[in-house]
Symmetry: C2
Subunit: 456 residues, 2 copies
């Protein structure tokens, strides 16, 4: 097919939008390890989890066999307000780079939450409402998830309490106001509102917070209030299930034009966007139908895949959540204060961890300043100002496209552009002013955190 | 056609995108009055304007006869990176309001500049580059235009100097960083960099600035530097020409589904988005082919249509620009410091002014706090967090839709949702905290500014 017959932005029709989410675990040969009770170390049952999570979400969390989950009509209606998201052919970028590579990105930033997070937020709010709950609690790092959940809760008339990692809360006061616009309450974490927050503050009064800590606070709050449950924006398999809508739409769009990617790239924090993007492609790879090179990109300052252990660990700093087997830096690991934006979680989704352990995907790390340089390069050519998180994927996509200039290979690259950076301008300012720092944790720092892994 | 056969978002195909801009003046019976030289009060020729503006843009500015201008291929390529913009059917809003009205909005916020401004910015940068210029200067109020121009200049490798109204500069430091990301320099206005800025500061040391003042500075800078010209994001007819892409796409999308609007609503500051949105519809109305109710919505605090004079006035505070015949509050009028966001220009595009004088469109004002209430209501239902400017149109659209609940009329409403409010969270915060003020200028205040109109 000649180049320009493929539009700049491939939008699938509403009628072509996925009607079911895809549960990759159903096709995996080696299933991800089960969640364990943090006290007894026995596999968690649905009943064990029901005080914390919504019932239908627990079922989705535990199910390793059902390949497709029908997307409820109410969620599909909401999706139609901001989806399908465009699969963009980066013609301008290709031209400026002079690369023979063909670059596509799935852009999830065209909604007010500014990222893909809304895909799971609306699903989780829906199931909470369906269960007759009053509200939900959650944590947020960069603020994208909290915004997404606020929007979703506002749509279904649910109360929404957000614990926001303190450094983000302070760096991003505007994020708080967006959440308030949607009616949510926002508390910087660690806070004095919860026992676990008070304990962490007593031990580390100057902490800038972490996702693991905010999770502990949100879980404590949810379990101590009638009619509330806890919801999480990444890491869990239910979230990856909902995010499969990204990959499914991408695949439908590519198939329409007979395009087969060689490389698929996503940034990896807790893993949900990456897991969602790659799900249908990985399914084909596992089933032996097609092969793809799949790359997870993580920050040098929080390298769970590349420098963590594959082991059971606590999902939260307060050690109240179930244990998950995952690539982890240890639940006490805190990324350096110089680290900007998200991708600061100590562990990785258990499904992706198993896939990585099985050699079905690669992982790589990138330096923060290189990420912002790639972000700026991309913005100036393709127009979109990317989130720092998304820019990890951009960095690696640019590297591969530039490599193709040398080798002459016409690789087809697909990467996930998960969101926009409008609320990250303080980090961009540091980059512009030349005061942004890179940070590579010392081996001893990681070893210390890993030494506290539970013995299982 | 049954309700749901119309998708939530009507995207026209790339192949259906407009290939030419529409120059509404060609179809007008009473043409807008010509620009006059601020010294001699004689009509400006292309030669008179060539020191300030780019040559091809001058031609577009002065041309009242040619109905269609082909959009150059380079601009169409850029458009394809973020256009077509969606025409959204607000099903969720209709349902929550319980209105029989059918509500559509053309959403121009899905690009990094966050608004429709990019449509003209890329055109103006293109013609500047084609003319072999080094760079351009401009002013920006809310920051949307400055961002758009920065993006466009970065794309074509032009230098970009932005004078930003001081109160916006201070309220929106993040806007500055977005512009810097695209390589622009940003100066708060009034500044000490220009003679006019120094004069204004000497007279009003505490001024929060105004668009008129920033324009004067940008013009002075452009005319004092080799290889630079001045570009403007609104008010001018060339801008309205480029913005006709909004209305043309809207019309193509509506026609695809056989939809005829009853009411078309846009917010009005300098008039470019409104003029662009209504252009093809107004053309039909003038030619007697169809009738539409067309409503301009302006802020109570800056009511040029509804409380201004239709007279020749200076386009800028420094009185260095050509005179335009327009609805104006007087070039010395400054909106109150409590006024949030854009729509703070003292005058109105001369084409729209003539249409309004001829009774072809209506105008109305809305209170600031009501605008933010409408913005929040809209955000919670339709997801999108709107810019304060756009929310003026939302307010009136909601009012009409709610009125339809009482009358049972199935009106088809189309409004322009010009942009997103991500950089306006400080204003939202004031609204949330109940400290936002409304402001209606006293008659005496407007009379004082009008008393300084040039005698022509």
């Amino acid at each position: 097919m000649s180049n320009k017959q493929i539009p700049y932005k491939i939008y699938i029709e509403e009628s072509e939008m996925p009607k079911a989410w895809y549960n990759l675990r159903a096709d995996m040969i080696n299933k991800p390890a089960p969640l364990l009770d943090p006290q007894t170390h026995k596999p968690m049952s649905a009943a064990d989890l029901s005080g914390v999570f919504c019932d239908e979400l627990i079922q989705q969390e535990l199910d390793e066999t059902k390949a497709y989950y029908e997307i409820p009509e109410e969620i599909r209606s909401f999706y139609k307000m901001y989806r399908p998201s465009p699969l963009v052919r980066a013609y301008c970028l290709e031209e400026k780079l002079g690369t023979p590579a063909k670059i596509y990105y799935k852009f999830e930033g065209n909604n007010t939450s500014g990222s893909h997070k809304l895909n799971s937020a609306i699903a989780q709010a829906y199931y909470a409402k369906k269960q007759g709950l009053v509200g939900v609690t959650t944590e947020t790092g960069a603020g994208q998830w909290g915004t997404a959940l606020s929007m979703a809760c506002s749509y279904f008339g649910l109360d929404c309490k957000v614990y926001m990692v303190k450094c983000s809360y302070e760096q991003k006061p505007h994020r708080r106001e967006v959440m308030r616009t949607y009616g949510a309450s926002v508390t910087p974490s660690p806070s004095m509102e919860t026992a676990v927050g008070r304990k962490i503050l007593a031990e580390h009064p100057d902490t800038v917070g972490s996702l693991g800590c905010a999770i502990s606070e949100a879980v404590e709050k949810a379990t101590s209030m009638e009619g509330y449950r806890y919801v999480l924006g990444s890491v869990l398999n239910q979230v990856m299930l909902h995010q499969s809508v990204i990959g499914l739409e991408t695949k439908i769009a590519l198939d329409k034009y007979g395009i087969t990617p060689d490389v698929i790239i996503g940034c990896a924090g807790g893993g949900s966007n990456l897991g969602g993007l790659i799900a249908p492609f990985m399914g084909e790879k596992i089933r032996g139908e097609r092969d793809y090179r799949i790359i997870a990109v993580e920050p040098e300052s929080c390298p769970s895949f590349t420098r963590g252990n594959y082991a059971y660990d606590y999902c939260d700093t307060g050690m109240v959540c179930p244990l998950a087997k995952m690539y982890t830096l240890g639940s006490s690991f805190m990324p350096a204060a110089t680290h900007a934006g998200g991708l600061r979680y100590h562990g990785m989704n258990s499904t992706l961890s198993q896939l990585y352990a099985d050699g079905l995907m690669e992982a790589t790390t990138v330096k923060q300043t290189e990420v912002f340089a790639a972000a700026e390069e991309f913005a100036r050519i393709e127009g979109i100002l990317p989130a720092p998180e998304s820019s990890h994927a951009i960095k690696v996509a640019l590297d591969i496209a530039k490599e193709c200039c040398k080798t002459g290979e016409e690789k087809t690259i697909v990467f996930g552009l998960t969101g926009t950076g409008y609320f990250d301008m303080m980090s961009y300012e540091k980059f512009h002013n030349g005061v942004m720092k890179d940070y590579r944790p010392e081996d001893a720092e990681i070893e210390k955190a890993l030494s506290k892994l539970p013995k299982i």
